[in-house]
């Protein structure tokens, strides 16, 4: 009987080792370990034995049973791993194909610059004031110290709608609206981005273009504050190494008035085609708000003073991103628009 058990053990070891899949293994499990199996049937023989013999016999059966169980478990793990491996192999995909489209679209370059500039000034405590584009002559010109028949009107050929209304030729009328709303009480710290319209069309001029107007008014705001503010803005927008300089200029609504140049970011000031070999690039106009404007807009010009500046949106974008023609902003060729995708 003992020999028979040992034979079963040897037989089982061989068959388990040779099992090729889980199903076969499950059959072997039934064959060797179920209650009806030959091995288990020997258990019933136990009652015919006594003493040491019985114990020895019991131990033998148990150890064979444990051995088979262990071998089946181990083999099962191996077969399962093999099965999984085969399954995975069948699941191979081309991981070099493109992923599903979760890409962002692209903000328009014009808006991108507006948002960038706005964020810089918001960080300095400015609010954003917006206005209508169909504007009263009174706000677009007269309150800004440009009365009827003033020669400065020829500087800006406007689109008129009727005797009193026009498409605003500058964002400056927003200044006048804000000042009147403030009822003569400072401080004011705003920028106002928006579209403006002039009768002009070529590679550097479009009949529609964008401006960002800035206005700061309080009792002790000076020209040096204008310089400091613009210097900060320019460094944020064009890089920390940029320097700025002012050149006297003329705008009817500021006195003194200046044009502001920045050191060329292409050549660092050495001179290159971008800066026309001067090392400097003109980027904005600015000045101290004219006392007449303060007065007409309800502020005591003896008590208050302030500065204003105007930035050309496309000009900044063209310089900063190397755009060659202002009309590209309005053509919306996706091959252009989509280039400004990166955050």
């Amino acid at each position: 009987m003992i020999d028979k058990i040992k034979e079963i053990a040897r037989d089982a070891e061989k068959k388990i080792a040779n099992a090729e899949n889980i199903e076969e293994l499950n059959k072997l499990q039934l064959l060797y370990l179920s209650k009806k199996s030959t091995l288990m049937s020997f258990m019933s023989e136990m009652k015919n034995l006594v003493g040491e013999e019985r114990a020895k016999f019991g131990q033998l059966i148990n150890s064979v049973k444990q051995d088979i169980t262990k071998r089946i478990e181990e083999k099962k793990k191996i077969l399962e791993a093999k099965a999984l491996e085969e399954k995975l192999k069948k699941e191979v995909i081309d991981i070099s194909l493109p992923g599903y489209n979760y890409q962002k679209g692209t903000k328009h370059l014009f808006q991108r610059v507006v948002d960038e500039v706005s964020d810089i000034f918001i960080g300095m405590g400015y609010q954003i004031a917006e206005g209508k584009e169909v504007e009263e002559d009174h706000f677009n010109f007269e309150l800004l110290n440009v009365p009827k028949d003033h020669p400065a009107r020829d500087m800006q050929d406007s689109f008129f709608i009727d005797e009193t209304k026009l498409l605003r030729s500058q964002t400056s009328p927003v200044q006048a609206h804000v000042m009147l709303e403030k009822n003569g009480k400072g401080p004011i710290k705003i920028i106002s981005p928006g579209k403006v319209y002039r009768r002009d069309d070529d590679a550097t001029h479009s009949h529609q273009f964008g401006q960002i107007e800035g206005l700061v008014i309080d009792e002790h705001v000076s020209m040096s504050d204008l310089l400091g503010t613009l210097e900060l803005f320019v460094k944020k927008m064009f890089g920390e190494k940029r320097e700025i300089r002012m050149r006297p200029s003329y705008f009817p609504f500021t006195e003194p008035s200046v044009e502001v140049d920045i050191s060329c970011f292409e050549c660092g000031g050495k001179g290159c085609p971008l800066c026309k070999h001067t090392g400097w690039i003109e980027i904005l106009g600015a000045g101290m708000v004219h006392p007449n404007v303060l007065k007409m807009c309800g502020f005591d010009e003896k008590k208050y003073q302030g500065f204003a500046f105007g930035i050309g949106i496309e000009r900044v974008a063209m310089l900063r991103y190397g755009v060659d023609d202002i009309r590209r902003f309005y053509t919306n060729d996706m091959r252009f628009n989509e280039q400004f995708h990166k955050e």
Partner: protein, 798 residues
């Protein structure tokens, strides 16, 4: 304006002043240098005399010349193609090695069709002189020098007065005084601290005036006149021709040239009349005439009431400040003339000039503003020149009409004000020096306050801020150090609307839409297209459009967006998803609009997985915006857009908020698509202003049910025209709040379903926040839901 350096040097000492230093000083004091040109540019020239002219054997137009180049260089052979070569002609020779013209052309000796040529005979154009300053004859051949020209002279440019530097200055609108060379010289003298040398002439009158002058218009308060007799009209001397040429003015004759030269120097336009052609002894300025007028340009202009006109009492002689009349024009036989120097209102000159489309150097100076006080100086200078250059011998007294009120031009100001405005601490002595250099008289009132009296030609100086600019531009630029405003704290940021708008824009970009920017002004022909949000509103029209393409203010963004789609379709981009936000303004209302257009396909995974856009794309985007704004769909009313020509009648929506139309969206109408040459296009336009104003409930946590919800699926057959919204609404109406959700997960039409019916699969979610629903409760609600469906004609499929 163009400044001739040679001319400027006559009036201010520029000895030893470095040109680049002068240019820098000008630019940084407000007289921006826009360009510097040499009137002519050449090295290696000599004046020669043609000794003989032979035809070239091998050419039908070339000549072989023998040219005497003086003692130093001797006689040279030159091959020349100009037609006007002849023996004994004095010519400009560019010798072997010469460099000529703006492009630095190098001349070397060479063989021309086998004949040695040792240089070239030049035209002025070849030396770089602008064509507009040359006569036709000068342009068509080599320059013919005066017969007395010195052969062998090497500084040819100096001999011809062409050794000049032209400085192009952008004179700012408030500094019209600098358009007068005298004033410009004064400015330079102040900037460089150099001596002025402006002559003042006075010609003694040798006769009483035979004319009277007056004005009947309040727009001419000063009118001065001098009669000069016995003049001779002839060619101007070389120096005057050269001076004018440098300034870009072509020489005509001595009289016209004197007029231009006086205007150039003094900034005062003067006008000259041939008095022998005038039948009156009186000049009267009027603005009450209505009649035609033939001006010097021989064209007829209609004078209207309001136009300032110089008359002989009855008949117009001159469109004041703009152009004289042909009837009294100076001609080659003129002998006795009257010179006028008046102050015409810039407003009137500007209006008449604009209306007639007639501008002149004179009108442009009046419009920009003239020195009102130097009329006598201008007349005296003209008289002097007429005496010197036109042999004038009889000078009548100057007669003047002048009713101008005396104005006090003193400006009260203080040194501390200027420093406060500039943010500087400039010493008052330094400021006083600046004012002195600029001829601004200062009267000190106390330590700080003073009265300033600007010179009469500085018509731009009117208030204390103007004085601060003078200090700023002369010495302030270097004194100003950057600071930041020290003012009460202000809170920066976007307002709620601006914030929502930016979030929506960023949201749309994150949905893979591209933002675009289009023109506000559009063609009137498309103004009504898709403008359903502003249907009965009238659009603004521009009175003076540049082109018909941009002539009205749009009432809708969509037509512009379709143009963008079309442009990209025409440039190999068939599939486009774009949006724009922009202000829309009509005569009755304005709002911020959002337009979206989807055209073609959505690329889910490169080309592997693409699908056509459909109605639910545009709807889904709209729904996502509503969610962002916290607007429950129940607050809006949706309606199909049936009666319109732009959208598909059954695949489009109108959205109302409180009975106000705030949005339209859907598939474009096939007919409209065909018209716009588009395919498979979906569009949306919504009134962002109205939607952003909707107040949404503030965010507060809601408790999450601890008890499990139960979902059950139902399939039923129902008439095709019953839409999902109605089913959902009816189920919710019939049942209780224990139905948490009604979702549709399949719609089927076809086999096994009767013709006008569809099969719909619904999933209902049952649940309560305070207990687990028992089967009895569920089946009770379930029955209600089923009867709700029955009421719509729906029948459960078994």
């Amino acid at each position: 304006m163009i400044i001739s350096l040679n001319l400027l040097k006559q009036f201010v000492d520029l000895n030893d002043i470095d040109l680049s230093y002068l240019l820098h000083k000008l630019t940084f004091s407000g007289l921006e240098v826009e360009g510097v040109h040499h009137l002519a540019k050449a090295k290696g020239l000599v004046i020669g005399e043609i000794l003989s002219v032979k035809n070239h054997n091998d050419s039908d137009h070339l000549h072989i010349l023998e040219v005497d180049e003086g003692e130093k260089y001797g006689i040279k052979q030159i091959v020349c193609g100009a037609k006007n070569v002849k023996e004994h002609l004095k010519v400009i020779v560019a010798r072997d090695g010469a460099i000529i013209g703006n492009d630095d052309v190098k001349i070397t000796k060479s063989k021309i069709r086998g004949v040695e040529s040792y240089g070239m005979c030049c035209s002025l154009e070849e030396l770089g002189v602008d064509k507009s300053l040359l006569s036709e004859k000068q342009c068509s051949g080599i320059e013919e020098l005066d017969e007395n020209a010195p052969v062998g002279e090497e500084d040819v440019l100096h001999y011809l007065g062409l050794d000049d530097v032209l400085i192009e200055i952008n004179v700012l609108a408030n500094r019209s005084d600098c358009l007068a060379l005298y004033s410009f010289a004064k400015e330079v003298s102040a900037l460089l601290n150099r001596k002025l040398n402006i002559p003042y002439y006075e010609i003694k009158a040798n006769r009483k005036s035979s004319y009277k002058v007056s004005s009947k218009s309040e727009y001419c308060k000063q009118f001065s006149l001098r009669v000069v007799r016995n003049i001779k009209v002839k060619k101007s001397p070389i120096w005057l021709q050269v001076a004018l040429r440098s300034e870009g003015i072509r020489s005509i004759n001595n009289i016209v040239d004197i007029g231009n030269y006086v205007m150039l120097l003094t900034g005062r336009p003067i006008h000259m009349y041939d008095i022998n052609k005038i039948n009156s002894q009186e000049f009267v300025v009027r603005d009450d005439l209505n009649l035609p007028f033939i001006a010097l340009d021989e064209k007829e202009y209609q004078i209207q009431e309001g136009d300032l006109v110089v008359t002989d009492k009855e008949n117009p002689l001159c469109l004041a400040g703009i152009m004289g009349g042909l009837n009294c024009a100076i001609d080659d036989n003129s002998c006795d003339i009257a010179i006028e120097c008046a102050s015409f209102s810039n407003v009137k000159v500007r209006r008449t000039s604009t209306r007639l489309g007639l501008a002149s150097d004179s009108s442009s100076r009046f419009v920009k503003g003239i020195n009102p006080k130097n009329d006598k100086e201008a007349l005296e200078l003209a008289s002097y020149l007429l005496q010197e250059l036109a042999d004038a011998s009889i000078f009548e007294e100057i007669v003047t009409y002048d009713v101008r009120e005396k104005e006090d031009r003193h400006i009260a100001c203080s040194f501390s004000y200027i420093n406060h405005r500039l943010g500087t601490s400039i010493a008052k002595e330094k400021m006083e020096e600046v004012f002195k250099a600029l001829n601004i008289d200062i009267t000190l009132l106390d330590e700080d306050n003073f009265l300033a009296l600007p010179p009469e030609y500085r018509i731009d100086l009117k208030c204390d801020a103007d004085l601060s600019e003078e200090i700023f531009r002369i010495i302030g630029l270097e004194e100003i150090k950057p600071t930041l405003p020290l003012i009460p704290m202000t809170l920066g940021g976007l307002n709620p609307f601006q914030k929502k708008k930016r979030l929506i824009r960023e949201h749309l970009v994150s949905l893979n839409l591209n933002e675009v920017l289009t023109y506000t002004l559009i063609n009137e022909n498309v103004k009504d297209e898709c403008a359903l949000l502003t249907l009965d509103e009238e659009c603004y029209k521009v009175k003076n459009p540049m082109t018909i393409e941009h002539s009205v203010i749009r009432k809708s963004l969509l037509a512009s967006l379709f143009d963008v789609v079309k442009y990209n379709n025409d440039h190999q981009k068939e599939d486009v998803a774009i949006f724009e936000t922009s202000l829309i303004e009509t005569k009755t209302h304005s709002f911020e609009s959002l337009g979206i257009v989807l055209k073609g396909h959505k690329f889910e995974q490169g080309l592997l997985n693409i699908r056509e856009y459909n109605f639910y794309d545009i709807l889904g985007i709209f729904e996502s915006i509503l969610t962002m704004l916290g607007i429950n769909k129940n607050r809006l009313k949706f309606q199909s857009l049936e009666d319109n020509i732009y959208f598909h009648p059954f695949r489009s929506l109108k959205v109302y908020l409180n009975n106000k139309l705030v949005g339209v969206m859907g598939e474009l109408h096939p007919t409209y698509m065909k018209k716009k040459d588009l395919k498979n296009t979906y569009a949306l336009e919504i009134d962002l202003s109205s939607l952003c104003e909707v107040k949404s409930a503030s965010l507060k946590m809601e408790s999450i049910s601890k008890y499990p919800f139960v979902t059950r699926d139902y399939a039923f057959v129902i008439k095709k025209e019953v839409n999902f919204a109605l089913i959902e609404k009816t189920i919710k109406k019939y049942t209780s709040s224990l139905i948490k959700n009604v979702e549709i997960f399949d719609v089927y039409e076809g086999e096994h379903v009767a013709n006008s019916y569809k099969s719909i699969a619904l999933r209902l979610t049952y649940g309560s926040n305070d207990h687990t629903l028992v089967e009895k409760e569920i089946s009770e609600i379930e029955n209600k839901a089923i009867s709700a469906l029955s009421s719509l004609g729906g029948e459960l499929r078994k």
